[in-house]
Symmetry: D5
Subunit: 149 residues, 10 copies
Amino acid sequence: MSSTEFPAMTQKLLAAKKAKGISFTDLETILNRDEVWIAALFYGQATASEDEASKLLHALDLSQDLVPELTASTSKGLGPIVPTDPLIYRFYEIMQVYGMPMKEIIHEKFGDGIMSAIDFTLDIEKIEDPKGDRVKVIMNGKFLPYKKW
Amino acid sequence: MSSTEFPAMTQKLLAAKKAKGISFTDLETILNRDEVWIAALFYGQATASEDEASKLLHALDLSQDLVPELTASTSKGLGPIVPTDPLIYRFYEIMQVYGMPMKEIIHEKFGDGIMSAIDFTLDIEKIEDPKGDRVKVIMNGKFLPYKKW
Amino acid sequence: MSSTEFPAMTQKLLAAKKAKGISFTDLETILNRDEVWIAALFYGQATASEDEASKLLHALDLSQDLVPELTASTSKGLGPIVPTDPLIYRFYEIMQVYGMPMKEIIHEKFGDGIMSAIDFTLDIEKIEDPKGDRVKVIMNGKFLPYKKW
Amino acid sequence: MSSTEFPAMTQKLLAAKKAKGISFTDLETILNRDEVWIAALFYGQATASEDEASKLLHALDLSQDLVPELTASTSKGLGPIVPTDPLIYRFYEIMQVYGMPMKEIIHEKFGDGIMSAIDFTLDIEKIEDPKGDRVKVIMNGKFLPYKKW
Amino acid sequence: MSSTEFPAMTQKLLAAKKAKGISFTDLETILNRDEVWIAALFYGQATASEDEASKLLHALDLSQDLVPELTASTSKGLGPIVPTDPLIYRFYEIMQVYGMPMKEIIHEKFGDGIMSAIDFTLDIEKIEDPKGDRVKVIMNGKFLPYKKW
Amino acid sequence: MSSTEFPAMTQKLLAAKKAKGISFTDLETILNRDEVWIAALFYGQATASEDEASKLLHALDLSQDLVPELTASTSKGLGPIVPTDPLIYRFYEIMQVYGMPMKEIIHEKFGDGIMSAIDFTLDIEKIEDPKGDRVKVIMNGKFLPYKKW
Amino acid sequence: MSSTEFPAMTQKLLAAKKAKGISFTDLETILNRDEVWIAALFYGQATASEDEASKLLHALDLSQDLVPELTASTSKGLGPIVPTDPLIYRFYEIMQVYGMPMKEIIHEKFGDGIMSAIDFTLDIEKIEDPKGDRVKVIMNGKFLPYKKW
Amino acid sequence: MSSTEFPAMTQKLLAAKKAKGISFTDLETILNRDEVWIAALFYGQATASEDEASKLLHALDLSQDLVPELTASTSKGLGPIVPTDPLIYRFYEIMQVYGMPMKEIIHEKFGDGIMSAIDFTLDIEKIEDPKGDRVKVIMNGKFLPYKKW
Amino acid sequence: MSSTEFPAMTQKLLAAKKAKGISFTDLETILNRDEVWIAALFYGQATASEDEASKLLHALDLSQDLVPELTASTSKGLGPIVPTDPLIYRFYEIMQVYGMPMKEIIHEKFGDGIMSAIDFTLDIEKIEDPKGDRVKVIMNGKFLPYKKW
Amino acid sequence: MSSTEFPAMTQKLLAAKKAKGISFTDLETILNRDEVWIAALFYGQATASEDEASKLLHALDLSQDLVPELTASTSKGLGPIVPTDPLIYRFYEIMQVYGMPMKEIIHEKFGDGIMSAIDFTLDIEKIEDPKGDRVKVIMNGKFLPYKKW
């Protein structure tokens, strides 16, 4: 999927951000939300409040016409079943290689259940390192035990 | 895939661990390796040194016959293209929903490249919380910029 | 998938139940759990406590050797991507036809989020009706709003 | 599938409903039909009578030009084979995890047959709960026994 | 799927039928059921009564041990998503080529609904013809109109 | 696939037929062809003679410009690999459940070969029945024995 | 699919043929059938008469026990949806690249219809050529025009 | 894939050919190339020289603007993984049923290697026959033995 | 995927290159980058610096408006899961046939790890040979050993 | 696919090689064949002469019973459609990302045609480098131009 295939809203937001020379980190301060969540909003994967939508459009010098689309909760999920983009594929590979091991550890620590992907946050940090900088991804989700009934 | 379909080696290691009443956390101390890596070894997704294999089998009261299999580097990757297990599926869902946003943030912070899934570590922590304990997953991979030539 | 392809544990439990002439409704009283949950346990889709496993095996005149398998939390998810069994397919069809409408209604009533399939119960009732009995399926899952961060 | 990919009719109806500030619950009273059925009509998954179509368009201040499309019985079924939207995926997961157990219970109560997805109703209720509101989904379908011949 | 991959029950029934030199038409008289239904029973796609199972096994000189399997209602559906066997593929092709036209005609004659595949019979006749014999397949299913609610 | 995704020719023909208030049964008389074949022609799955095309367009008050498209033999086959429309899916289900049994009966009656889907007709009748009308589908195809060489 | 995964009958026939040092061309003379048809028989894709089966087993010094399997008409079709074997893949590639062009030519020469794959023969010849020998494949199938009704 | 979905170039060439009332056989004489190769050129599956492209466009009374597209070597391969068009499907079926037998014969005659689909020609002939005309397809490809190194 | 389906940027660059009569080898000298990398840039699979983008557009007599698209890092990966184009398919086939053998050799020489496809270069050379020219592809990627933790 | 799922022959050869402490490089000298070709032979992807098979088995202290399997040309192609093993996946990724660019360069240098994967060799070299050793893969295949006819 080339970037020109994303929804018009996503393309407008990304183009305006580039034109303004503003970064996601800058938007963190303006919206008081994490940069990953804001990027998810750009891609229609999160839902803003009216106020957040308005502030974002203001910061990007865009018309308020996009408020309804930014505040609607649309269908989520992007891209093909197996991602072809190498950066995104690596997360798929991690799930293929380390999925069962993670399940073992989570079950040992918590019992039968899952990590929520809804009551969930995700942060990305840059760890500078003379041997090559490192990407640190921190996922934090509520543990949900299987209910018995 | 029910757990009885995993390789014989995996089943033997899991059964012995259960019979001994030993946890992956206990094995951390014995092997001086992270519990996630050890669980990956159980599932044939990591390769032990002769010494690590020997210590592990000793700790689980298993014969040393499994040393060759634990030290061989076999084909990696488990399970179906889209995982059906709810715990593992959530990581697939995170990649579907947050994959492109993560790509945007990583590119903004690092430029065009990927997070390595090979020069990579993964830790799982339990965050106790009165409103419900939380699972914290920390991935740490070297950033690899695309080489131009 | 013919029933002879299910795990050995499932086949043993179903055969014993048939031989004893005991129903899932009878097992409800013995285990003090819902019949659907008990059937899920038969298929390795739920995890029993030691006590529940023991009672179940006792009720079915089976050896206690299956306790470890009944209390382990194995990989979940059965059958092909699109089910071929007509009874199960109908639930897939409902999701295909009514999935987006259900999403609209749930979002209207609750906001952006999901119905949990983990903090979740499922009951099946028989509604007698002279024009043809009816199957009533009641799903009850906690609403989980998307966390913003 | 982003919402902008749904048929033009669906988009017009949803936009008009938003512009009017009217809810599916309000439409229940106007059309004397359940809100889930009405949402299914929005998505081209149900067929209205001329009268129902006319009333709906009137209530939404839309031209009667959409009557033919609302009263036609078009091809049904939405979205990809495995849904990527997390809310809809959970119903797929329920079918994967609880499909065979439900089959066992339905066969025990009714014999060999299926629950109809055609002679069928589906209701969604909000159960308020201080520990977190709950979504209640009630499916009610005629039992159809396999005919022998 | 070669025939040796079908369940053991199917293979035993087919082998006994061949050894006895008995045809499905002969079995029609013995069981007072249609030959297609009986063939479906051989493949585990239909469920016999105790009496029918007993008569069938008697006619084939097989032990009564297969009664439980013949009277159980197992998971239905055989073969790959797109059949490779040319005879069966032709029915798939008919659905691909004539599916939408059939839908148009059924909707014109009956309204929005489906032909039941459960309250359903299927007969096969041989039409002798000097220019080449013909296969006549008669499907007869109850029309089920979509319920509005 | 919503009906708005069919080729322009199909949409024009269906709209004109609706506007004229003419049924496929009416078209049978006009064209002296079966209604199922005519519906197949609407969907580009059959090829008309010049004369048939001309008569059809005349009957629907459409310009003769569509003659070339109606008389061309285009690629056949509609819709996804597994149909999502419930009416069409039921024919797929019949093939999944009764495919092998039909093969057994056809082989018993005719020997190794297939029913042609080309030298083939398909009729649909409405059987009125106080307990619910029934759909009768009659397929009639030439038996083709495998040639040995 | 490695050759060790083919049915036991196929493996026995191939092993006996190798042990006897007999070629398919030799078998042509013995059975008075084409070598391709005989190879199809080895793979369970064709059905022999009792006499042909008997002669073949005799020629290969095998017991007559395989007569029933050689004379039964089993499910046909081998291998994965897209073949991985390079020799077989080339025929798939030809269909991908030259399929539509072949359709155009066949329609131009014969009208709307197909080449039968049942009333069909296939021969393979070796054309010696100093610049490299060539494989000649001759397919010969009856043209079947679409029946109108 | 309906014919209206092929590239604009293909549609223009086919329409001009129909308008001129010229056949592929006529084009053979004009271009001094086989009709199958010319049809492949229409579908963008072969690459013309400047001279061939020019002659073809001249013969079809089309502007020379299409020369660059006819002489470019674009991505090859048409249609879905498993073809739905019955004529093209039959070639897929032949590969499914006779693929392994063809491999056996080719290996017996030539050794380990393949028939080239590149150094390859394909001809189609009409064999008139009072019992029904026959389609003869002749494929002729260079044998390529596996190189050892 | 016909070439007309590639992004507008790709089509503009290829058309301008053809119009100018300039080769990728010529572009090597102008950009001081390898021709394969430059072709990857044309297809949106590599990211140029502002200076490289500017030089390329200048060389092709194109407006500088494409600079933002050439310097953005878009989603990577082209074409279907299994490529249909014969040239590209051969590389897929090499991976299918020689993938495991390459893994064995790389593991024997380097230990458990992978060849990077990011810190990676790829060159293509033409080896003239009287028996037929040869294509030489040289891949050169950093070995990345699995990190233990 | 875990390595224990490979054919028995592959497992025997790999185990014997490990037991003998012999490397593929050692086998190069013994067989006078490249190590990659020898590894392909281990996996049933290449065909040995009688002499090569015999020498290999002798070198590994294995019985000559495996000669027939090593000299037979079996079906080729290993593993799933999209490889899950990270090392092998990288070659798939290279084809996804650089496939079309390679096609452009090969067409520019050679014209319309392909690189043979049959008249083909593949070598792997270790390039020592203080910043991290590098894997060099050299593919060398005959260019095959499309034949016109």
